[in-house]
């Protein structure tokens, strides 16, 4: 345990250090402007003068302002502790029903993510079965599935929302469909590979029992595909979350992590943006960890782990 914890902590410390170092030059101009306004002597004086100066040079000329770069109200890049405090305040210190609670917004996004993931996984599995068993589907569906993923999701998400809205579907489902759009693809690719993973000998063996094709599916192809399925699900659930967040952006939604990002950027609330980003990252990590746990339990019960 100790030897797996240490590298993780080392990497986190390294990232934090880089983050803190980056905060100084990113925020120095703003900090200097504030300092000048409060009557301090800044070299060179005048915001206009400083605009085109190198940030690193300004830090070197005005070392007194370094401390201030970590505590600006609307920094260009917030310091880690500012984001941490915001995260704490918007989760633990807020009621879950509050519009300012990150947990509230997280749940809105999570519900769309889970629904989209379920739709995407179901659809992906069905398509994979079709592709493996039908030559026509193999030739016709796969190119479209690949083409669907080459379209930027940001371009197609507003259209999905608008089209569905015009036929009266709104709320959770349009976001879930965007999630499904992103998450079905890894499932299709993984399951096609998995369902085709049994070798000739295993297929011949079933033939010697004159097994029918549904027996071949349930007893050989589906169990063989399990390791592939779980690898796909891990990619799929993360893609679902991205889909749900992107689905919240184009409509100017007022609820959800995407809405938090959007309103943060409207009002220059960088700390809010970063805390929503980190919140989304923690959510994704938790979801992937849950899939990983399900994988461990399933494969262990199947004697394959």
């Amino acid at each position: 345990m100790r030897c797996s914890v240490f590298p993780v902590i080392a990497v986190i410390c390294g990232l934090m250090a880089m983050w803190y170092i980056a905060v100084v030059p990113m925020n120095i101009k703003m900090a200097l402007t504030d300092a000048e306004r409060s009557g301090m002597v800044v070299t060179p004086s005048g915001a206009k003068e400083r605009r085109d100066r190198s940030a690193i040079l300004l830090v070197a000329q005005n070392p007194f302002a370094i401390k201030a770069t970590f505590s600006l109200e609307r920094p260009r890049l917030p310091a880690p502790h500012q984001v941490a405090i915001e995260l704490w305040n918007s989760t633990v210190n807020k009621k879950i029903t509050s519009k300012r609670s990150l947990i509230f917004h997280g749940w809105i996004t999570l519900s769309a993510t889970l629904l989209g993931f379920a739709i995407g996984t179901g659809l992906g599995t069905l398509l994979a079965v079709g592709i493996v068993y039908s030559r026509a589907m193999d030739m016709s569906v796969m190119p479209w599935a690949i083409a669907s993923q080459t379209i930027p999701i940001l371009a197609i998400a507003p259209m999905i929302i608008v089209v569905l809205n015009s036929i009266g579907v709104q709320g959770l489902l349009p976001k879930a469909i965007i999630s499904a759009y992103l998450s079905f693809f890894p499932v299709v690719v993984g399951m096609v590979k998995g369902l085709r993973s049994p070798d000739h000998m295993q297929l011949d063996l079933l033939k010697t029992y004159s097994a029918n094709s549904s027996q071949g599916f349930w007893k050989l192809r589906l169990p063989s595909s399990m390791p592939y399925l779980f690898a796909s699900l891990k990619i799929g659930i993360a893609a679902s979350l991205v889909g749900a967040i992107v689905g919240e952006l184009p409509t100017g939604a007022v609820r959800g992590l995407g809405a938090r990002l959007l309103s943060g950027s409207y009002y220059g609330q960088t700390i809010q943006i970063w805390s929503a980003l980190l919140g989304a990252a923690f959510l994704a990590a938790a979801l992937v960890a849950i899939i990983g746990l399900a994988q461990r339990i399933t494969l262990k019960r199947m004697g394959m782990a």
Binding site: Q202, L205, T208, Y209, S210, P223, M226, M302, G303
Partner: protein
């Protein structure tokens, strides 16, 4: 019991069409195998011995001639589950226990749950793996896995057992032991066995009939009816009779190989 041969091939040919032209895997094969015989097919790589076995099992279709299994076509025999097939590798499903693997053909063939359990017990006893029913394949050695795969082929009690180099990947000591067990099993069950092998001692030790094959095109170059008694201890391999048959097999292989 009738005098009809269990397996009968007349003028059997199989040609694979490849990009480099036709490959004659089997050409004009004539062979009758009677009930209860233990027939080995021996020959160098590419002589068609595995292909011949696969034709019997309806895993390949012949392109010429006739073959019958129990008097019917291989396909009808396969659909009637007339044979058990043992592959070169054990090929056990890693997600099923040993018992579960042996249950696989029984589930597919629709045996009742209680019948399944009884048959699994019986064949596990036959291959001396009774204590391993609940173990997963990776917990067993290669030899034990191959025994489990033989048990799987025996579970539905087909009269014919087709084995494609089942012990090819095992070491000599394990192989000797499994050969002894296989002979014992054959004597007790009175099955008809077709057995593909590379090894002359293995073929001579096991068989009542040795079919020597030669490549390009795959054909039978000699059929030797073994005069050895049914009861064969391992030591029989040092007797003059044994050495004499082995000599004849070796000559058959050399003659078939041609001046290459």
């Amino acid at each position: 019991m009738t005098n009809e041969p269990v397996i009968s091939a007349q003028d059997l040919s199989l040609t694979f069409e490849t990009n480099d032209g036709p490959v004659h895997a089997l050409k004009n094969i004539n062979l009758d195998i009677s009930k209860g015989e233990f027939v080995s097919f021996i020959g160098p790589s590419g002589c068609g011995k595995t292909t011949f076995l696969r034709v019997m099992a309806d895993l390949e279709k012949p392109t010429g001639g006739q073959i019958t299994i129990n008097g019917v076509s291989p396909e009808a025999a396969r659909n009637a589950r007339a044979y058990g097939y043992v592959f070169q590798a054990a090929g056990l499903y890693p997600w099923r226990t040993i018992g579960g693997n042996i249950r696989l053909p029984l589930e597919i063939m629709g045996y009742s749950k209680s019948d399944q359990a009884k048959r699994v017990q019986d064949v596990l006893k036959l291959v001396e793996l009774s204590d391993f029913e609940k173990k997963f394949p990776w917990q067993l050695s290669g030899g034990m896995q191959q025994r489990a795969s033989i048990a799987r082929a025996l579970a539905f009690d087909a009269d014919i057992l087709l084995m494609d180099e089942p012990f090819g990947a095992l070491d000599e000591i394990v192989r000797d032991h499994l050969n002894e067990q296989l002979l014992d099993l054959w004597r007790r069950t009175n099955k008809t066995i077709g057995f593909v092998t590379h090894s002359i001692p293995e073929a001579v030790y096991l068989s009542t009939k040795i079919v020597v094959m030669s490549p390009r095109p795959g054909r039978i170059s000699d059929v030797i009816d073994s005069p050895l008694p049914a009861d064969r201890p391992l030591e029989i391999r040092d007797t003059p009779e044994f050495i004499e048959i082995a000599q004849r097999v070796r000559e058959g292989l050399r003659a078939g190989h041609g001046p290459e």
